[in-house]
């Protein structure tokens, strides 16, 4: 069994206040392991983004616990959560969120910069990361001069460059055509398998299913199904087993 890098136990999350209050997550148990690409799927409003935000230390659960590489996020303030993200997590966003005034290489290097890694070594690492996603020759291009697929690959390079334990990707293929979508998913799968990272992809795109080692389905804030390409990993979450 691969090493667990993220572990969530009995995670509940209530969003909003008063009459507008919504229970987005109703007791989630899940783990992310090294070397595994996990797909988190579910319809809109099912709670998958909220779960991603909690696993990515953007939000703290209303109850339950989350630990990232052995570090609990309970009682962590915003700066401590930012430190956990910086130390352990790389993000790939649906809208890429590249810096339009920086080159592709600088966008990647930025992930090292915020960790205090500067200079030639950082620039070399950034170029290597762009090489991993096949964009070394576009290092000097600005995001505006790149296609959507290329921009997402730069974003993946940015997520990878600091060697985080976990890559969390939010709908990384939703803005891409089939070819680019496949390329992006192939890179993420290679990241999981060849670079031994835990990769979680939040998606509702059925085209990405073949790339997942494990698929977690969420509905109404509850994990309703979990399938794995390895039979011993297959299990139903407690909430789903006990019924709605």
């Amino acid at each position: 069994m691969n090493e667990i890098v993220i572990e969530a136990k009995e995670v509940k999350k209530t969003l909003g206040k008063g009459a507008g209050q919504v229970q987005a997550l109703r007791g989630i148990d899940c783990t992310l392991r090294r070397g595994e690409l996990t797909l988190l799927m579910g319809p809109s409003g099912s709670g998958k983004t909220t779960l991603l935000l909690i696993l990515g230390c953007m939000l703290t659960p209303s109850s339950g616990t989350v630990s990232i590489c052995g570090t609990s996020t309970s009682n962590a303030d915003t700066e401590a959560l930012a430190r956990i993200r910086r130390d352990h997590i790389g993000f790939v966003f649906q809208s890429y969120h590249l810096f339009p005034t920086l080159t592709a290489a600088q966008n990647v290097q930025l992930a090292l910069d915020i960790r205090g890694e500067y200079g030639r070594a950082a620039a070399r690492k950034a170029r290597e990361a762009l090489g991993l996603v096949g964009l070394e020759q576009k290092a000097r291009s600005r995001p505006g001069g790149l296609s959507g697929g290329e921009q997402q690959r730069v974003a993946i390079a940015r997520a990878l460059v600091a060697n985080p334990s976990v890559i969390l990707a939010d709908e990384p293929t939703s803005a891409l055509d089939s070819d680019n979508g496949r390329t992006v998913m192939r890179i993420l799968a290679e990241t999981a398998h060849e670079r031994d990272r835990a990769v979680l992809v939040v998606t509702h795109d059925p085209r990405v299913v073949p790339f997942g080692d494990r698929i977690i389905e969420i509905e109404d804030g509850i994990l309703v199904n979990e399938t794995s390409d390895e039979p011993d990993r297959l299990r139903l979450p407690k909430a789903a087993a006990s019924g709605p």
């Binding site: 953007m58 930012a82 430190r83 910086r86 005034t101 920086l102 910069d113 915020i114 939010d170």
Partner: protein, 377 residues
Amino acid sequence: MSLVMTLASRNLFHDRLRFIATLVGIVFSVVLVMIQMGLFLGFGRMVTTMIDHANADLWVLPKGAKCFEDPSLLDVKLRDKVTSVDGVASVVPLVIGFSDWRLDSGEMTPVLIIATDLKDDALLPWNVVEGDVRELSKSGGVAVDRSYFDRLGIKGLGAIAEIRGRRVKVVALTDGIRSFTTTPYVFVDLKNARLYTGTFPNRASNLSIRLKPQANRAELIEAIRAQVGDAEVLTSDEFRSRSRSFWLFGTGAGAALFAGALLGVIVGTVIVAQTLYSSTKDHLSEFATLRAMGSSNNYIYSVIIYQALLNAVIGFILAAAIGYVVVEMTAKSALPIVITPWLVAVLLALTIVMCVSSGIVAIIRVVRIDPVTVFMR
């Protein structure tokens, strides 16, 4: 090198129109402060120019005299008392007073008579470019600055005019002895000065004292004070300070200059704060992305602070260039703007403080960024 500087400069230069507007604000503010403070320094120098050029260690002034031009008078007999103090080298009475200069056209213009005994060089005209100061001892000899030709209605050396109905002749011309009050200085002999100003022979405006070398100044001051009764004994530095204090603060001129400078700082701060806030607001999604990636707040603050510093440095360089031109243009005016290296350093520091403190508003906005917003678009 960190990308903070790159990010800050790109954010700043990305919207050129806003950047130019920011610079205009900073330059306006810094130039305003520079001119106000330069006027303050220039004024401070102008009001003490006579004391600066007097050959005196100490001064005896009528009690309560506020400045060099003060019209109060003291008894000239004090000269003998002070001269008797051991350690005093010379005591020279000065007569200073306003009078009327009559132009050829018949018009009158006020002048400030400055007179001392020509046998001593307590306060003789300096920067003499034409004529001979010794000629002042002749009846009706006067020395004026050539910048006042128009004002005095004369054309040069040898010009004839009248002071209080008495014929005077310009026997010496100086360059750059200008009065901050616009009233021209006219140097004359002590005897003539009494006639032109209506000062009795037993009265003088003040006494300038020179001490013997190696004299104990502190002890001599006390000894002279014991001799002069109600009159005051001041060192040249004290006299300068008193004159400056009177003209700059007693008249409100200094307060007005400081108020102008303060206004400049406020205007500059508001403009920079507004544009930095606006720039930060435009780049909020980028700052949120940085935060989502795990950047510390300090990293984001440093981007904003670098933007402010860039604004400050570029704005200051432009303002300093304008300041240099203004200094050159006013060098020969009645009130030159004086910019010293010290003032330049203070202005640079002030510009940096102004721009960086302006960044606080933007920082307050950034503190409220929720990295979750990155996932919402």
